[in-house]
């Protein structure tokens, strides 16, 4: 399915990767457009890290095709790595080096190191560069990697659960940094299971489960596809039960009229609204789906057992 629109920085189609009998990636698709912050969501063990590792050419694909910054991640690994910065999810550093040494080292063997940006980032992340890595807390080790990546001016930033271990203040600093990257036209792929973080930073998201893509698109479109929660009080009891796309209907009749609450699919919204006004609507409250709700629903959907119930 060729995307003729915007330039794709990452274009992965049908990725398959097995470790022994475990199929970590099972036909996963991922498209990241130039200049966007793309959220990569999935529960633990869904294949997020494996995907990132194949995009870095660390793992070799069993099937499917991956395209990164116009090159083949396996064949052109080194050339492509000049143009990207990666923060792995598991932060293991060299205990004998100081934080500052680690930052310099990693940034120098990346492309586009801007040493003057380093000083500014150290200050913003409140990190002491002279401390040995072995004495850092988990959050501080995470900051070392974030500074080492953000101090480089490259086209693509890959973050694997970057705020894991950061306090809310520092997570906010990270979000600001990501905003600055987008303002400068850089592309960011952010893997996370923290929905609030993705909600706050990303324009488009890809949701995966068990090595497969279950949904991808603009966050606002996904919301549109999701279920809106509707609450209303009406003079007479509205007959919503017969409408396709109305879920979890709850009706409480009272002396003054009736109270209804339900989840409504986008397609069913016109029918619901006309039924409600026919029943004499007094108050109406509607709330778009939260990312959490969508998230939970997607996982349920792609699990056949759960979808039945």
């Amino acid at each position: 399915m060729p995307d003729v629109g915007p330039e794709l920085v990452v274009d992965a189609v049908g990725l398959v990767k097995s470790f022994g009998t475990v199929r970590a990636l099972d036909g996963l698709d991922l498209q990241v457009r130039a200049g966007e912050v793309h959220g990569f969501l999935g529960p633990n063990g869904a294949g997020k890290t494996t995907t990132l590792r194949t995009l870095l050419g660390l793992l070799r694909l069993d099937a499917g095709s991956a395209w990164l910054l116009g090159g083949d991640p396996w064949r052109d690994a080194v050339a492509l790595h000049r143009r990207l910065a990666y923060v792995p999810g598991e932060v293991v550093l060299w205990p004998s080096l100081s934080g500052g040494e680690t930052i310099d080292l990693l940034a120098r063997i990346r492309g586009g190191y801007r040493p003057n940006r380093r000083a500014e980032l150290l200050e913003r992340f409140d990190l002491d560069p002279s401390t040995k890595v072995s004495t850092y807390s988990k959050g501080n080790r995470q900051k070392v990697l974030l500074v080492a990546a953000l101090a480089c001016d490259v086209e693509l930033y890959l973050f694997d659960e970057p705020t894991d271990g950061l306090d809310p203040l520092m997570a906010e600093v990270f979000r600001e940094c990501v905003d600055e990257l987008t303002a400068a036209g850089r592309t960011v792929l952010l893997s996370s299971h923290l929905l609030a973080e993705v909600d706050a930073t990303c324009q488009r998201v890809t949701i995966i489960r068990a090595g497969r893509t279950v949904e991808t698109g603009l966050l606002t479109d996904l919301r549109h596809l999701g279920r809106t929660t509707v609450r209303a009080t009406t003079e007479r009891t509205a007959d919503l039960g017969g409408i396709e796309g109305v879920h979890d209907l709850a009706v409480t009749a009272s002396a003054a009229g009736a109270e209804v609450a339900c989840g409504v699919d986008a397609a069913a919204m016109p029918a619901v609204l006309s039924q409600l006004s026919a029943a004499g609507v007094r108050t109406l409250e509607s709330r778009p789906p939260t990312l959490e709700e969508m998230f939970l629903r997607y996982y349920d959907q792609s699990d056949p057992a759960a979808a039945q119930s």
């Binding site: 690994a77 293991v92 063997i109």
Partner: protein
């Protein structure tokens, strides 16, 4: 000023239960022993087996009382082997000869095993955050360290029981066997307790291991120095290796020396446990120094990174080999005198290293053969750090940058290969300089033995190449490399003594090192060994290019 609130609960934390800083020691010790259910018997049995294998060789090498008295006389005449192995107190009994030949070396080996075991179960677990997990249970502050000491004692116990039963059962005398087995186990316990102290001083397991091994090695060197005069200098009483010798198993056992070992190990253990009960979790007595705020200008590639990470380790190895080389160099002269006075020993020494007529060269070559194994061990462990980085997650950090896999692998390979050269160079030069000074031929002998040491480089490189091949092609089999190294050490150092067949040594690269300067210089084996090492390394790098990282 804050005041305790009046409505605090006054109930006893756990009514009826008695809790001390040692509560939980047994469950932790049981867990440690369970995790070590292969390791503990393996070390205990393996080291005891060496004693039992060496004992019968003396009946073969020195079958008559006459030949044994000759050996004793030649040892008395000059302090060289005595320095390394300790004094021979009863040459007439096979047990006495066995205790003399393997006592110091085994104490060294078992001591190192104890150091690594204690640190693994104490500081390493604390560093990994496991102590935090267990410490939140019903576990006293001193229990983890106490459990580590119990786990280490288990190895010593297995070793001692086997040695006592093995030597005693062969009819060498139960008293001597009991003294020999327990004195080594006691000395090893002293090292275990010293490691427990080291684990309180440092914050990292690596530093604690380094400190602990340095103590063991230093105690060995101190015993050698004390034993280089006859009778041994009084400083022999400062080192557990000296205590093992001074227990005099099979030669009028002095049981109180074993009591001394027990007292000293208990005292050290109490100090360590006292500190463990007082300090904060994760802290050490030695405060970590601050590092540089920026990396040195020259650091900025996989090669310079490898050098930055490995240089301190290499320095320690080079210093260790230099000290050993100097020590041995100071003994060459007296060693030459002694060997010259005993044809049978001369034959034995030649069978180890050379068929040459110059005994000094033969003696030097046996030491250089040992340096080559040390150098190979450094090379192997350095290349294996690639695999450690890979499993722990640092490899992907480096490989997500401009560094190619070949650069990443080659960086450690180059450090390993040049480290091998540095170690052999240092050992040969130190030995040559000191021997040269005592023999009044400083320039000649220092060049001679430096060159002789460098001749062994290609053989050690073969193990470096093999390590690279395994890391690149069969990363799941890296543990086999340690077996290969152990095999080379056992077969190379003990093969002639144990009378192992030649083919067992011919399958190691060290067999093919030309015995220069004892024999004519032969370039062909060197070229072949270097080519083999290169081939293995290239194969490994090619494999690295092809496979998943992490595998």
């Amino acid at each position: 000023m804050s005041v305790a609130s009046a409505n605090r609960s006054t109930a006893a934390p756990v009514p009826g239960a008695r809790a001390t800083a040692f509560t939980g020691t047994w469950p932790l010790a049981r867990a440690a022993l369970r995790r070590d259910r292969v390791r503990t018997p393996a070390w205990g049995v393996g080291l005891a087996a060496m004693v039992l294998a060496v004992a019968p060789t003396f009946d073969r090498l020195y079958p008559t009382a006459q030949s044994r008295l000759e050996l004793a006389a030649s040892l008395a005449a000059s302090p060289s082997l005595t320095a390394l192995l300790g004094p021979l107190y009863n040459p007439l009994s096979t047990g006495g000869l066995t205790a003399w030949r393997v006592g110091a070396g085994l104490t060294l080996a078992l001591g190192l095993v104890n150091v690594f075991l204690v640190v693994r179960h104490s500081r390493a677990e604390e560093q990994a955050g496991l102590a935090e997990l267990t410490g939140s249970g019903v576990v006293g502050r001193r229990a983890p360290l106490a459990a580590a000491l119990v786990a280490a004692s288990a190895v010593d116990l297995v070793f001692a029981v086997l040695v006592v039963l093995g030597l005693g059962g062969r009819g060498m005398g139960w008293a001597g066997a009991l003294a020999f087995g327990t004195t080594i186990a006691g000395a090893a316990l002293v090292f275990a307790a010293a490691a427990a102290v080291a684990a309180q001083l440092t914050r990292t397991a690596r530093a604690a291991n380094g400190l602990g091994s340095a103590v063991v090695a230093g105690m060995f060197a101190l015993a050698s120095l004390a034993n280089s005069s006859s009778p041994p200098h009084a400083v022999v009483w400062l080192t557990p290796i000296g205590w093992v010798e001074q227990t005099r198993p099979f030669a009028g056992e002095r049981w109180w020396v074993i009591a001394l070992e027990v007292v000293v190990s208990a005292a050290l253990a109490l100090v360590a446990l006292e500190v463990a009960g007082r300090r904060d979790l994760g802290s050490g007595i030695l405060r970590p120094r601050l590092g540089r705020t920026t990396a040195a200008r020259w650091v900025g590639s996989p090669q310079t990174l490898a050098w930055r990470l490995d240089r301190a380790t290499l320095l320690v190895w080079v210093l260790g080999v230099t000290a050993l080389g100097a020590l041995v160099g100071s003994l060459v002269r007296s060693g030459v005198d002694m060997i010259a006075s005993n044809p049978r020993l001369a034959e034995y020494i030649r069978s180890l290293g050379s068929t040459s007529s110059t005994i000094a060269d033969a003696y030097a070559l046996t030491v250089i053969a040992m340096f080559a194994l040390v150098a190979a061990a450094f090379g192997l462990s350095t290349v294996l750090r690639l695999h450690v980085d890979e499993t722990e997650g640092r490899a992907e950090l480096v490989l997500s940058t401009q560094a190619s896999r070949v650069q990443w692998g080659a960086a450690r390979l180059v450090t390993a290969a040049s480290g091998v050269v540095a170690i052999l160079l240092a050992g040969g030069l130190a030995m040559g300089l000191v021997y040269g000074a005592t023999a009044h031929d400083l320039p000649g002998l220092s060049v001679r033995y430096t060159e002789a040491a460098l001749v062994a480089v290609p053989a050690a490189w073969v193990l470096v190449g093999l390590s690279m091949a395994v890391v690149g092609l069969l990363p799941r089999l890296t543990w086999v490399l340690w077996l290969v190294l152990t095999y080379c050490i056992v077969v190379g150092e003990l093969g002639p003594l144990l009378g192992l067949p030649d083919w067992m040594r011919k399958i190691t690269p060290f067999w093919y090192v030309p015995r220069w300067p004892a024999e004519a210089f032969a370039p062909v084996p060197l070229v072949v060994l270097t080519a083999l090492a290169g081939l293995l390394a290239v194969g490994g790098l090619a494999g690295l290019k092809r496979r998943d990282v992490p595998d």
